[in-house]
């Protein structure tokens, strides 16, 4: 506070003027924290009353950049074949004998028969990390296959194969194979696979080179699925808006939850015990006798000794009272306890070995299980109570909310993790109703912080 230095001068003045002149135009420098808080509150208010006209260009640019970066990151990190692993399996000789037929059978449609050139047969390079086992199958100079594959990674290609039976019976069938990794087939030829066949199982790819038979088998890894339990506490700011007037209250929640995770999806439920309070509003109408004026009552008189023609009256002040109706407000503090049951469906956007980030959304139902209302203080020693009106909005026994969570998990051991869930609630039904009509909305923001235990631990997670 800047120190006022102005001194009044003069011999004396009216008290009102003294104050008016001295501090009527006083200025003080506000502390910087006022603008900081004000700035934050304005920002929150803008977010609550979001419309595209009040968003600065910088925010648009930032949001757009985030979306682009997130999209690129997702594209770069998306699980490309991570859920499966492909291994080369030794092919039993018996199977070779049975499945590898003289495939230059004339019964096969000519357009689906491609002859491999001798160069294509010469030096195939094994895939990285793979090893082939030689079989004793006799070397053939000419090998036919039944299809070609454009081996662009990630493309889907229909592959035909045929296993002609003796007697020119054509058992042509259609299979669909999603080729997700080009490196697995590039050792033959990126464009023309002159010597491969698909077994009846879509997950097995058979290569034949120089009479050797290799089965390329796709092994599916189990989809991670596990349960988790969590315990947390959440301070929450609820904002009630009715007829353009906002009131805020702080709630405190203790939440226990159980979730089932399947791959990147999850479903969560649990119990939350919440404590909240509001202000009871009472209007107290009473009547009392108040002094409204006075008069001077003559209680005696005498003649002025110096001037006998003059009468001096002896008076005393007498009050005039009137009955006046007063309306006084009283505010009390009411306490409420809620039990809430959410049902949230989640999807994990980002998962690493330590951290996962996801979103959850779903409905929640809250029950009012306890209510303690304080009585107003009525202290009217000289008055008469006429009316006591309770203007406090009445609490409803149940209310529905729509939740949106941002779920952030940090795994600090195999089974244990820290969870931080900033969340937003929109009340589909209001928690309280007042006698005043009009539009009212209730929203809440909170931050649930707690611990989580994974049954099965990270080994079940990707």
């Amino acid at each position: 506070m800047s120190q006022p230095t102005k001194q009044n001068s003069g011999s004396g003045k009216n008290l009102d003027d003294l104050f008016r002149d001295a501090i009527g135009q006083q200025e003080y420098t506000p502390s910087p924290r006022i603008w900081r808080i004000l700035n934050l509150k304005l920002l929150i208010r803008e977010l609550l009353h979001f419309n595209f006209t009040n968003v600065p260009k910088l925010a648009f640019i930032s949001a757009g950049s985030i979306v682009i970066v997130a999209s690129l990151s997702y594209w770069a990190l998306k699980p490309n074949g991570k859920e499966t692993a492909e291994t080369l399996r030794k092919n039993p000789v018996a199977a070779v004998s049975e499945s590898v037929k003289p495939i230059n059978n004339t019964a096969r449609p000519p357009e689906r028969i491609i002859q491999a050139s001798p160069e294509q047969m010469k030096q195939p390079v094994p895939a990285e990390g793979k090893s082939f086992q030689q079989s004793n199958y006799p070397v053939k100079q000419t090998v036919y296959t039944v299809a070609t594959i454009a081996a662009a990674s990630g493309t889907e290609k229909t592959v035909s194969y045929s296993e002609p039976e003796p007697g020119n019976i054509d058992n042509t069938a259609e299979l669909t194979e999603n080729i997700t990794a080009s490196q697995e087939v590039r050792f033959i030829d990126p464009l023309v696979f002159s010597n491969f066949d698909l077994l009846p199982s879509a997950d097995t790819l058979r290569f034949i080179r120089s009479g050797e038979v290799y089965d390329y088998v796709r092994e599916k890894m189990p989809v991670p699925s596990f349960f988790s339990v969590s315990l947390g506490v959440a301070p929450e700011m609820a904002i009630y808006r009715s007829n353009g007037v906002s009131t805020k209250e702080v709630n405190y929640w203790t939440n226990a939850g159980i979730a089932y995770h399947y791959s990147r999806f999850s479903v969560r439920t649990g119990l939350g015990l919440g404590y909240t309070y509001d202000e009871g509003s009472y209007s107290i109408q009473y009547r009392s006798n108040d002094s409204i004026s006075f008069y001077r009552e003559v209680i005696g008189y005498y003649y002025d000794p110096d001037n006998p023609s003059k009468i001096i009256y002896i008076t005393r002040n007498r009050a005039i009272y009137d009955s006046i109706t007063h309306i006084a407000d009283d505010r009390t503090r009411n306490r409420y306890t809620y039990l809430q049951i959410p049902l949230l469906f989640g999807y994990s956007i980002l998962e690493t070995s330590k951290i996962s980030i996801g979103i959850e959304a779903g409905p929640a139902l809250s029950f009012l299980i306890n209510e303690k209302k304080a009585q107003p203080v009525i202290d009217i020693p000289y008055g008469r109570l006429i009316k006591l009106q309770d203007n406090t909005p009445s609490r409803l026994s149940t209310n529905w909310q729509l939740w949106v969570n941002l779920s952030i998990e940090y795994q600090f051991s195999k089974n244990w993790g820290l969870v931080i869930n900033p969340y937003y609630k929109y009340f589909l039904t209001p928690p309280a109703q007042s006698s005043e009509t009009g539009n009212s909305t209730t929203q809440a923001f909170g931050m649930d912080v707690g611990i989580q235990y994974l049954f099965g631990g990270k080994r079940n997670k990707k």
Binding site: P4, L15, F19, R20, I23, P30, R33, W35, S291
Partner: protein, 186 residues
């Protein structure tokens, strides 16, 4: 204290730079107003900060018919009164009880005081006034409210307003006298 129309428009559009400019322009004077209605600096800053939210929320209703400073000051004063009423939850009808008169007073009494007191002392005295006295005194002396207007604003009778003002004046006069005596005895 010049804020042009464009800055007001920018404030309404939510441009933070303009809002900051408006705040910087008027906050010092308005903090002086808040200080008179509150009992300490922290409370005054709380009032100022909350009132400026209302200023920005309602700036679109300002029609430019009067001065912007006067319009903002009215919001600040209204908010200060609401704030004080809210803080003193049960004080409101206590305050009415407090002023019940058992003696006759001349509510229009003019009190003469020496004027050698500095503003800091006078402000401190106002802040030490009971909330009810302080509010009526401020409205009457600094905002030029009549008793009828004060009665409507505070929801009290005109007589109560007059009595509160009288008691505030008397209280302040006594305190000024005490301060002078202390100063003379040193």
């Amino acid at each position: 204290m010049v804020i042009d129309e464009q800055i007001v428009k920018d404030c309404i559009a939510g441009k933070r730079q303009a809002q900051r400019m408006l705040f910087d322009t008027f906050a010092p004077l308005m903090l002086g107003v808040c200080t008179r209605y509150s009992h300490d600096r922290d409370e005054a800053e709380d009032i100022l900060q909350e009132a400026f939210i209302k200023v920005f929320q309602n700036l679109h209703t300002f029609r430019g018919e009067g001065s912007l400073a006067g319009w903002i000051k009215r919001i600040i004063v209204n908010h200060a009164i609401n704030y004080i009423n809210k803080r003193n939850r049960i004080a409101r009808h206590k305050r009415i009880d407090e002023i019940r008169e058992t003696e006759i007073v001349d509510v229009n009494e003019i009190i003469e005081v020496p004027d050698e007191y500095n503003p800091a002392l006078l402000l401190k005295l106002i802040q030490e006034l009971p909330a009810g006295y302080r509010t009526v005194f401020n409205l009457h002396i600094f905002e030029d409210f009549g008793h009828k207007e004060i009665a409507e604003t505070l929801g009290i009778s005109e007589n109560t307003s007059k009595t509160q003002l009288f008691k505030a004046r008397r209280w302040l006069k006594n305190k000024i006298e005490e301060a002078r005596q202390k100063q003379n005895s040193r």
